[in-house]
């Protein structure tokens, strides 16, 4: 497949605007400003593009919720707070092809009528922040940002807002709170950001990868895009593969590539010969894991949902037979409890409790009934938290317990690990 998102990845000085333009950049923008915003939104709707941040919501539909009243100020926020363990796709685009993101954001702003766009970037991405800032300055210099962009009469200012290292800032409403200068804690929905988002004004929040798809859709058309990959969730997708494979890294493949194809074909198979695959986390740590029997599942939104998991951010974590599932579950749950924002009771007080129970099982201090306790706590947390973070923690843990219950039981019964 011809690369769309990573086409400039690895090329020398790919981040510079001259090289981006040479490679055909800002053509999409040129085409976009000739269209009416409404037809642009229709184009994205027709392309079938679904949000790459995790929820997989139709991007065109999201844009269409924005009120058309030109007197109301509107905002675009790019969610570049890439914090899901195992995920590093947005960083790849930001570091190597910042103009792709900027172009996508300009087109999106034009479509929804925003005159201010924010990039909320994870605080640890210092290199990326600097690159983006240089790129934004270049775009201003070339007239792609600022007043009267490409003679269209459309004005746009773009700002980078650095986060300070909290996972919750990736939740869109917490991200808005953070930009406004408050504690990053999710807001109640409704009202949804499309009606009252940043500074209580209509706001679109899109992921870096989603926005990076926009220029080529405008340039090459909705039909071209909708023919790539799985019919219900078309387009190219960056998979971030890590763990026990020969060649971990970023892979841009059509949506719907199977797990087997990804691991054994593209990534060169398992890292250690002779060690069997034990589990795959298909979409970042909050996605319930898959076992070898599910290797032929296509990696797209609907197929994974059917298997009880999710595509999430597309972070594929591969684990071989030597991996202790109790330890993995403990690490994952500890992450969630550490990153819980503290707003709602079940997540704030429930996830640390899960971590404590898992910790004692892992350290050989588990008690009979602990697995049942974990399951019961999961039931009490799931569906009752304020935002999806708590649900994510539970879904991940449930995946571990459901598929590897005997390992947990072994830890409790024999006070040691089953695999090492």
């Amino acid at each position: 497949m011809e690369k769309v998102l990573l086409k400039n990845y690895g090329k020398p000085d790919s981040h510079k605007i001259e090289n981006y333009i040479l490679s055909g950049g800002y053509k999409g923008l040129e085409a976009a400003v000739k269209l009416k915003p409404d037809s642009l939104i229709q184009l994205i709707k027709d392309s079938g593009l679904r949000g790459r941040g995790g929820a997989g919501f139709s991007t065109g539909l999201k844009w269409s919720f924005i009120p058309k009243d030109p007197t109301i100020p509107k905002f675009l926020c790019c969610n570049a707070d890439e914090g899901e363990p195992g995920t590093f796709k947005d960083r790849g685009i930001i570091d190597h092809d910042p103009h792709l993101l900027i172009e996508g954001m300009i087109i999106t702003s034009y479509a929804i009528g925003a005159s201010n766009a924010y990039i909320y970037i994870r605080g640890e991405f210092v290199f990326g922040t600097n690159r983006l800032q240089v790129a934004i300055d270049e775009a201003y210099a070339k007239g792609y940002l600022g007043k009267n962009i490409m003679g269209s009469g459309f004005n746009l200012d773009m700002y980078i807002h650095r986060g300070f290292g909290a996972y919750i800032c990736g939740e869109e409403t917490a991200l808005l709170e953070s930009i406004e200068g408050y504690r990053a804690q999710p807001r109640k929905k409704p009202p949804f950001p499309a009606l009252a988002g940043l500074y209580a004004k209509p706001t679109v929040i899109n992921n870096v990868e989603t926005l990076s798809c926009i220029p080529s859709i405008v340039e090459k058309g909705a039909e071209w895009f909708s023919k790539i990959g799985a019919p219900k969730s078309p387009g190219p997708k960056i998979y971030c593969v890590s763990g026990h494979v020969k060649k971990p890294g970023l892979y841009e493949l059509p949506m719907g590539t199977t797990v087997r194809d990804l691991i054994f074909n593209h990534c060169g198979g398992m890292l250690h010969e002779g060690r069997a695959l034990k589990a795959v986390i298909p979409g970042g740590v909050s996605a319930p894991l898959l076992t070898p029997k599910d290797l032929d599942t296509p990696l797209d939104f609907d197929s994974l949902a059917a298997k009880g998991s999710m595509l999430g951010s597309g972070a594929v974590i591969v684990m071989d037979q030597t991996t202790c599932m109790v330890k993995s579950a403990h690490i994952v749950t500890r992450f969630f409890s550490h990153e819980s924002c503290g707003k709602c009771t079940p997540c704030r007080d429930g996830t640390p409790w899960l971590t404590r129970v898992l910790g004692r099982i892992e350290h050989g201090e588990g008690k009979p009934g602990d697995v049942e306790l974990l399951e019961s706590l999961c039931t009490n947390i799931f569906g009752r938290t304020f935002c999806p973070l708590g649900d994510g923690a539970v879904m991940a843990l449930r995946g571990f317990v459901k598929n590897f219950r005997d390992e947990f039981q072994f830890h409790i019964d024999y006070k040691r690990c089953m695999v090492s």
């Binding site: 409890s337 550490h338 924002c341 503290g342 707003k343 709602c344 079940p346 429930g350 569906g383 009752r384």
Partner: protein, 837 residues
């Protein structure tokens, strides 16, 4: 209207009603921690989760509005298990030290676990501890974060209601701690509203700590005795010592809020320095000696029997109950046949008459809630944030929740400024000039109406703007906002009483706004709890009960003191007012009082005034008597007795009656209930007031009990004409000195409260930050405030945004008595401020 089904019961509710409220209407209680009617909903505690048919997840009922056709279940096994599980989670990280927790017994967490909670705890691991020892956040607030349920009510009440915004949350997850920034000691209003809203023992009263268990307390529902906002509160004692005052959610106009004075000023009732027995001074040179009541009354009878009514006066405290004030004026007017009665020591009698007329107090009660319903509300002549903190809370809360214009005009910056849409700083005592400017702007060309209004045409706008020291543009903006509003509210404060020059223009503005067909609500703001009630009972030389006309105007406090000074006052009966410390020019007052032939002082403490008396009669404090107060809005509210009087002290109403009976056996009515009956009969405004509390605790947080507002009457009061006094500029004394109440004090009464005194930092002079910078001074410096007659060394307080050239010393300091700077009959004094060496 939306039709919803709750647990199978169909009912109609307003659109956008919260499910929580709809369920309560249907008769189903839903437990909550983070929900509070007057705070912004955050839906975080998850206790209120309910099942909505057709929705997969449980929904928080405290932030979810009903939709037409919704079917909601609040008591299914899933909902009940969700509640139990939330409590289990809360307990997992809870300190569980109920046996030593102050909140034990009235803790919402305890109650809820008892009602919904898991019967057995499953958490068996070590808990996270925020700290080992409780830490103090202020002299009155102590904190134990290990008990926190993270409802964030403390943070929200501090931000949304109190407006101090000093609390926040540190860290995240289960390490999240609602406290001050970096747990630093707070320099805040110390009002303890964070304590009141805390459902658990996380924020606690430091003075109340480890004193008692809630079930050992006996309390009564009463009214605060400091400013005239009229906050309902419960004061509680254990074994005769008052240990706590608290507000109640959904009760009174204040709901769950109180200021520092109300919440922590209760300890004046525990003061040992009370006068507990009558005292008489038998000879001119001798001291006061204890006596029996019979002796004291007989002594009074002997000395007053021959006094000519015209040469006798009575002054009653504005903290007396309506019944006492009514009986007192009856005593002075009918027994002593004297027209000389007053209740305001600090304000001129004619100024009071003008104020009553200009603010329309004679037209009946005006609810602050109605006032805040207006499109534009103008606050003038009142430093709400310091003088009437709870009125400030009400204004902040309502102005923050609806679209309206809030205009604040005052010489000094105040906390409420941040809620205002327009803030204007004018020179002290120039409210009149400012109002003139607004009126001229409102219809400069064609002012018609009364003679006075028409006469204003000749006034030059530039002249009044210069007099008030304000810029034309802001005044224009204010005028435009008023002109463009269908309804206008005015909150007018005691500065009009201190400088009555502003009263005629205030009256004119009312006249003009009414003439232009605007809905107008004027709320007067007063600083003594029953000032309004005492006036309405006839505690004033210019008018009788219910603002009725008097045959001849008597002498007010000022005139009485003048008369005394020239030897023309033979007897004076002062019930509860400390003239020496409150009236302008202390030396003059002392000289005058010592020349009074026979001085009767009835008070709870041996005040400076009482020391000069021939007879001292021990009265009781607010918590020791029953009665009725009328707050600034004209709400008649009931105070209740908590403790018996100490020693031989008697209820003031009994003392007044005993004195009256000594002269005429039939003097009465004989008990407070009968006095109230007579008040109802005699005073039309009070014909429908009732002793029963009408606004009982209500979960809808309906705080505006209109039934308690007194009715209007017809009166012949006059605003009077008040020539403008110009304070001439004087390079030697660059500051104009103003006064008022400090945040932690109300008059000198609250000086008796150890807790309140510990909160205020001692005598301070407040000037604007820019002035301080220009003088090379900084906050906290010791400075010498020098006037023509008096000087004092105090510490400096600076305030950003105050009018330059204005100095402020509160009237509450014993160590820097501000009344000594004033000279009777002159306007505001000028002072210089220099660094004290």
């Amino acid at each position: 209207m939306a039709t919803v089904k709750i647990n199978g019961i169909e009912l109609q509710v307003e659109d956008n009603t919260l499910i929580l409220d709809a369920a309560r209407k249907a008769g189903f209680e839903i437990p909550t921690f983070c929900y509070q009617a007057d705070l912004m909903g955050i839906g975080s505690c998850r206790m209120c989760l309910v099942e909505i048919e057709g929705q997969k997840k449980l929904q928080p009922s405290c932030v979810t509005p009903v939709l037409h056709g919704m079917s909601i279940n609040t008591e299914t096994p899933t909902v009940m298990s969700a509640r139990a599980s939330m409590l289990e989670f809360l307990l997992a990280n809870h300190a569980m030290d109920c046996p030593v927790c102050d909140k034990g017994g009235e803790c919402e967490l305890q109650d809820m676990v008892h009602k919904y909670g898991p019967r057995k705890g499953r958490h068996a691991d070590a808990k996270f501890k925020f700290h080992e020892k409780d830490y103090a956040l202020s002299p009155v607030i102590i904190k134990n974060s290990n008990r926190c349920v993270n409802c964030m009510k403390c943070v929200r009440v501090c931000r949304e209601v109190v407006g101090r915004n000093v609390l926040t949350a540190l860290n995240r997850g289960d390490h999240q701690e609602a406290t001050s920034f970096m747990r630093t000691f707070l320099d805040c209003d110390h009002d303890g509203n964070c304590i009141e809203v805390c459902p658990v023992g996380c924020f606690m009263r430091l003075p109340y700590r480890y004193k008692t268990r809630p079930w050992d307390l006996k309390g009564v529902d009463t009214i605060c005795t400091y400013c005239a906002t009229g906050c309902r509160m419960v004061i509680e004692h254990r074994d005769g010592t008052v240990v706590r005052a608290r507000a109640q959610m959904g009760v009174g106009i204040n709901s769950e809020t109180l200021c520092a004075r109300g919440r922590f000023g209760y300890d004046i009732m525990n003061d040992d320095g009370r006068v507990k027995t009558p005292m008489i001074k038998k000879s001119r040179t001798g001291g006061l000696e204890p006596a029996s009541w019979e002796e004291a009354i007989a002594f009074i009878k002997d000395n007053l029997a021959t006094v000519d009514g015209e040469k006798l006066g009575g002054i009653i405290s504005p903290r007396s109950t309506n019944e006492e004030a009514y009986l007192f004026q009856k005593l002075i007017r009918t027994i002593f046949k004297s027209p000389n009665i007053d209740s305001s020591v600090r304000f001129k009698a004619d100024a009071v008459e003008g104020f009553v007329k200009a603010t329309g107090m004679d037209e009946g009660g005006a609810s602050i809630f109605d006032c805040m319903e207006a499109d534009t509300v103008l606050i003038i002549g009142a430093h709400l944030s310091d003088e009437n903190p709870v009125t400030d809370y009400i204004v902040r809360r309502i102005s923050g929740s609806r679209r309206m214009n809030l205009i604040i005009t005052s010489p000094r910056a105040m906390k409420l400024d941040s809620s205002a849409s327009v803030v204007l700083r004018h020179l002290p005592a120039t409210e009149g000039a400012l109002l003139d400017a607004i009126i001229l702007n409102l219809n400069a060309d064609k002012i018609v109406g009364s003679e006075a209004l028409t006469a204003l045409k000749d006034t030059k706008l530039e002249a009044v703007l210069a007099e008030a020291g304000v810029d034309a543009e802001t005044v224009k903006l204010i005028s435009n906002k008023i002109a463009g509003s269908a309804s206008v509210g005015i909150i007018a404060g005691t500065d009009f009483l201190r400088s009555p020059e502003g009263l005629p223009p205030l009256g004119l503005l009312r006249e003009l706004l009414k003439a232009t067909g605007k809905k107008l609500t004027v709320v007067p703001v007063l600083d003594r709890c029953n000032q309004r009630g005492v006036w309405e009972m006839g505690g004033h030389p210019n008018f009788g009960p219910g603002y009725s006309a008097v045959k001849a105007k008597g002498m007010g406090t000022e005139a009485m003191l003048d008369a005394a000074h020239s030897g023309g006052l033979e007897a004076l009966y002062i019930a509860g007012a400390d003239l020496v410390t409150l009236a302008e020019d202390e030396d003059f007052v002392k000289r005058a009082l010592s020349k009074v032939g026979f001085l009767v002082v009835q008070d709870t403490f041996m005040t400076e005034t009482a020391r000069l008396a021939n007879v001292v009669l021990p009265g009781v404090s607010t918590g020791e008597k029953d009665g009725m107060f009328t707050n600034q809005e004209g709400r008649a509210q009931v105070i209740k007795k908590l403790l018996p009087p100490p020693g031989k002290a008697k209820k003031d109403i009994d003392i007044i009656r005993a004195v009256g009976e000594a002269f005429e056996r039939s003097f009465g009515p004989k008990n407070p209930a009968l006095v109230l009956d007579e008040i109802r009969k005699e005073i039309g405004m009070y014909s429908e007031v009732s002793l029963t509390f009408k606004n009982k605790r209500n979960p809808d947080n309906e705080l505006d009990n209109k039934a308690a507002l007194v009715k209007g009457t017809h009166s012949d009061l006059k605003i009077g004409s008040w020539p403008r006094r110009h304070v001439a500029a004087d390079p030697a004394f660059p500051f104009i000195l103003t006064t008022g109440n400090q945040l932690f004090h109300s008059g000198r009464l609250s000086r008796r409260s150890e807790i309140l005194t510990s909160l205020s930092k001692g005598a301070e002079v407040e000037i604007s930050e820019s002035d301080a910078t220009a003088l090379g001074l900084k906050a906290g410096d010791k400075v010498r405030v020098k006037g023509a007659r008096y000087e004092a060394v105090v510490s400096l307080k600076t305030k950003k945004g105050s009018k330059p050239g204005v100095a402020f010393i509160a009237e509450n300091y014993n160590e820097a008595p501000v009344n000594r700077f004033f000279k009777k009959g002159e306007g505001l004094p000028r002072v210089s401020i220099t660094k004290a060496l």
